[in-house]
């Protein structure tokens, strides 16, 4: 049983969940299901693996296709055995019926051609008929990783493999004025120096040789300063001063308007955030005449190919793009960029495969970042302090500049060539797929009226694209912080205050479950605090509520996160918990530590020292409750926790100290500065 999904493994365990679905529908042991990596030569085009949609999209497609295949085999078996298909049952591929009659998928395989389009006409099993869905099966990829067997693109041995490195400037969008290649040419094993405008790279027989040649080339390079970056300290206000496309996201008028007595207004900000995958981006490419084959950890092999068609000026059928695993992927990182780098370098050495690996510094400074956001929220309160109006405005760059979506390429090297393509300015996905800057900006609460608007920048000195949750992280932080402020002013419990404004049952259920599990609200000791945050991701996806327990002493420490989540039917419950736990810990890192640093010429946070992330000793305990709804279609879990956890921590810090921090990250220095002001 070979299943070739268009979605890819990015460290989230999706391949196992999809295999589970296929095995369930076909009635075979999951060990018989062989999952094939996505490739433009063989897999369906399922776009990009993002947005926590893989189980929804690919899972549904596999479910329907497998249900149909099972029925095709049942019909053939019925004909062979001379019985009605309805009396037959399938058990691990063996088809049997009354009176010990039997055949099997394998016996019938030669008679049946599956080379046909699926019709989606055969209804899949109901959730009650499935045996594997809902079980926490062990992930298929884990044994390789535990024994150090080659699994990642970085580990893949190709015969005759050459090694490539790219010379990228520290200065943002700098121009290469002069390049002395003399010393690099003397490096043992050097095969080629490739230069096209500002794009420069080396190809070498060995990896140390490639590093040595790159170092030599760097010494011989003379760069002219490129674009000026904004003042980091002023970035929240800078975003509001830039040219922008303004859009009204939602406007709801009150059925029976109530006069406002006063208005409360607050401004929140999140910085640029780096992907910071533990593996630097990597790709391999090999030319064969006018064909090129590319191995990539891109989230979308077809989308990447579309951009390569534009840059390489080749017909799409001459470019094969195949997926290979890399380290955890949290959005549009350098994977697509390095694939073009590899194609450009490999072109200089026809017939031989070239692997290009980015440096840590390039990974932290040249890959796109999650966009910085400034968010203003206003509430109109009536004479009794109840919310009668709500306004929410967002300023920032768009949250996606993915390949394959526009009529110009989104790949870094394309902007560096002698005949360059312009840098793609990030846009926002449409509201129908959850929006971008505006994601989760429309309240889930029962306010009588609201007005939401978004100001997307049309300049982009700092490159941004999709990072886990897009704008939902910033918006949920703002909305849930602001609600907490309003509840506090009224002297109301923040859980009760939320429930009082929330009629949606599934929303109430996760908040109540998280509060109950965390024994809300525990008596607090000195320096400790508790906070809650809630959202339904994209307003259409997973429901999640988080309670944070923090301790503020010498430093700010998140001791415990308690979460309740509702993803509808949980195909692999342990996989869901793993995603929620991971999201909660990553969000804790974003809130307490992360901020891309820059001066006016370059990104300065280009190492783990300059861009620290949460360490083992700083990781909170995470306790997750799944509210199981097997009768409801599954939604993804990968991005549900970030917003609620961020808000819960910010609210807990306020609960501990009575000081409200509205700029992320929430650090000791900022806390001290805020306490001095208050």
């Amino acid at each position: 049983m070979v299943v070739s999904p268009g979605k890819v493994e990015i460290g989230q365990g999706i391949v196992t969940a999809l295999a589970q679905i296929a095995a369930d529908e076909l009635d075979v042991d999951i060990a018989r299901v062989q999952m094939v990596r996505a490739s433009t030569s063989a897999s369906p085009n399922e776009g990009v693996t993002s947005g926590s949609l893989s189980v929804q999209h690919s899972g549904r497609a596999i479910r329907f296709a497998c249900a149909e295949i099972r029925q095709i085999f049942l019909d053939a078996a019925a004909e062979r055995l001379g019985v009605d298909p309805a009396v037959l049952a399938v058990n691990d591929g063996v088809i049997s019926g009354p009176g010990n009659i039997s055949t099997s998928y394998w016996e019938l395989a030669n008679e049946i051609s599956l080379d046909r389009d699926a019709t989606a006409a055969t209804p899949p099993k109901s959730s009650a008929q499935r045996t594997l869905a809902g079980q926490s099966l062990q992930r298929l990829d884990i044994p390789d990783k535990v024994f150090g067997r080659p699994r990642f693109i970085h580990d893949s041995p190709l015969p005759g493999l050459l090694h490539g490195r790219i010379l990228r400037p520290e200065l943002s969008q700098a121009k290469l004025v002069a390049l002395n290649e003399e010393r690099a040419r003397k490096v043992d094993g050097l095969v080629a120096i490739v230069r096209d405008g500002n794009f420069t790279g080396v190809v070498c027989e060995t990896e140390p040789g490639a590093e040595a040649a790159l170092a030599a080339l760097r010494k011989g390079a003379n760069w002219a300063q490129g674009e000026t970056l904004p003042d980091e300290e002023d970035i929240a206000e800078w975003l509001k001063r830039q040219p922008a496309v303004s859009t009204v996201i939602a406007d709801k008028k009150a059925a029976a308007p109530v006069a406002k007595a006063r208005t409360v207004k607050r401004q929140y900000h999140r910085p640029y955030i780096a992907h910071g995958s533990i593996a630097p981006s990597c790709a391999m490419a090999q030319w064969d005449g006018d064909l090129v084959r590319i191995w990539t950890h891109s989230q979308g092999v077809y989308l990447l190919r579309s951009d390569l068609v534009m840059v390489l000026k080749m017909p799409r059928e001459n470019i094969i793009v195949e997926h290979m695993e890399s380290a955890g992927c949290y959005g549009h990182n350098g994977a697509d960029d390095v694939a073009l780098d590899a194609a450009l370098l490999a072109k200089a050495v026809p017939g031989r495969p070239v692997r290009v690996l980015w440096s840590r510094a390039d990974e932290m400074s040249h890959a796109p970042f999650g966009a910085a956001m400034t968010i203003e929220v206003e509430a109109d309160l009536d004479a009794s302090g109840e919310i009668v109006g709500w306004r929410h405005s967002i300023w920032g760059n768009g949250h996606t500049a993915r390949p394959g979506r526009a009529d110009q390429p989104a790949l870094l090297a394309a902007t560096e060539l002698a005949t360059p393509f312009p840098r793609a300015i990030s846009v926002d996905p449409p509201a129908a797929v959850g929006g971008g800057s505006d994601r989760n900006s429309v309240p889930l609460y029962d306010f009588p009226s609201w007005h939401i608007e978004c100001h997307r920048l049309t300049t982009m000195p700092i490159r941004t694209s999709a990072l886990r949750t897009l704008g939902a992280h910033g918006n949920v932080f703002a909305v849930e912080s602001f609600l907490d402020e309003l509840a506090f002013e009224r002297g109301e419990d923040p859980v009760e205050f939320r429930l009082r404004h929330l009629s949606d049952i599934r929303s109430r259920d996760v908040i109540e479950a998280a509060a109950r599990r965390a024994e809300w609200k525990p008596a607090k000791a000195d320096g400790t605090g508790y906070g809650i945050g809630f959202s339904r991701y994209k307003n259409t996806g997973a429901y999640c509520a988080a309670v944070a327990e923090v301790e503020v002493g010498e430093d700010i420490r998140v001791r415990k996160l308690t979460l309740a989540v509702d993803v509808g039917e949980a195909i692999n419950p342990d996989g869901v918990i793993n995603q929620i736990e991971g999201g909660a810990i990553q969000a804790t890192s974003w809130v307490l530590k992360e901020r891309v640093r820059f001066d006016t010429t370059r990104i300065t946070s280009n190492s783990w020292t300059e861009y620290p992330i949460l360490r083992f000793s700083e990781v909170p305990d995470v306790d997750v409750e799944i509210i199981s709804r097997p009768e409801v279609d599954s939604v993804g879990a990968g991005e549900a926790a970030h917003g609620p956890v961020t808000a819960a921590i910010a609210n807990a810090v306020f609960d501990a100290l009575g000081v409200r921090l509205r700029h992320l990250p929430i650090t000791r220095d900022r806390l001290i500065a805020a306490m001095e002001l208050s």
């Binding site: 990015i10 460290g11 989230q12 365990g13 926490s136 062990q138 992930r139 990829d141 884990i142 044994p143 990783k145 535990v146 024994f147 150090g148 067997r149 080659p150 699994r151 990642f152 970085h154 580990d155 041995p157 060995t206 990896e207 140390p208 910071g276 995958s277 533990i278 593996a279 630097p280 695993e325 890399s326 380290a327 955890g328 992927c329 949290y330 690996l357 440096s359 840590r360 342990d574 793993n578 995603q579 736990e581 991971g582 999201g583 909660a584 810990i585 990553q586 890192s589 190492s607 783990w608 020292t609 992330i613 360490r615 083992f616 000793s617 990781v619 305990d621 995470v622």
Partner: protein, 155 residues
């Protein structure tokens, strides 16, 4: 020049520039895929191996410094046929998401268990504090190490 060391119990001679990073030798000359390159500056621990009983970042360890020493990588920790307790425990706890940082983390854990057969969660976290994980699998990994330690004590 030739540098001799023991790799996963086998005498190994390498002819290379003595300043070559150990990771380059392991992945390049010796073709191992367990230790991973993450930063090249000893900051993330994805390349951790054991030198003697200590977990060390191999990306910034020069070859000359390991002459005559015992090097253990994840490949030497155990195999599918004879898995180490840590490998069994990481599978049982499904203690990873992407797994790129994993071999380095398991080597740090192996070093800890050599010096402390009954570590607390806090001691495990302290021992892993120089290993970065970006997916947020920390707590599962701590649970896996506690499980492995218990199994090793029982046997």
């Amino acid at each position: 020049m030739t540098i001799r060391f023991r790799l996963n119990g086998v005498d190994t001679d390498i002819e290379a520039d003595p300043d070559t990073p150990l990771l380059t030798v392991l992945r390049g000359h010796l073709g191992l895929t367990g230790p991973h390159f993450g930063c090249g500056a000893g900051e993330c621990g994805a390349c951790n191996v054991l030198i003697g009983d200590h977990a060390v970042t191999s990306c910034d360890t020069p070859l000359w410094s390991i002459a005559d020493k015992d090097i253990t990588t994840i490949e030497g920790l155990g195999s599918v046929e004879r898995p180490h307790a840590l490998q069994r425990a990481f599978i049982a706890e499904q203690a990873l998401q992407c797994g790129y940082c994993l071999s380095g983390i398991m080597m740090s854990a192996a070093a800890l268990l050599k010096r402390n057969s009954n570590p607390t969660s806090t001691e495990i976290k302290a021992a892993l504090d120089r290993n970065l994980c970006r997916c947020g699998s920390h707590n599962r990994m701590v649970r896996a190490i506690l499980r492995a330690a218990a199994e090793m004590r029982a046997s």
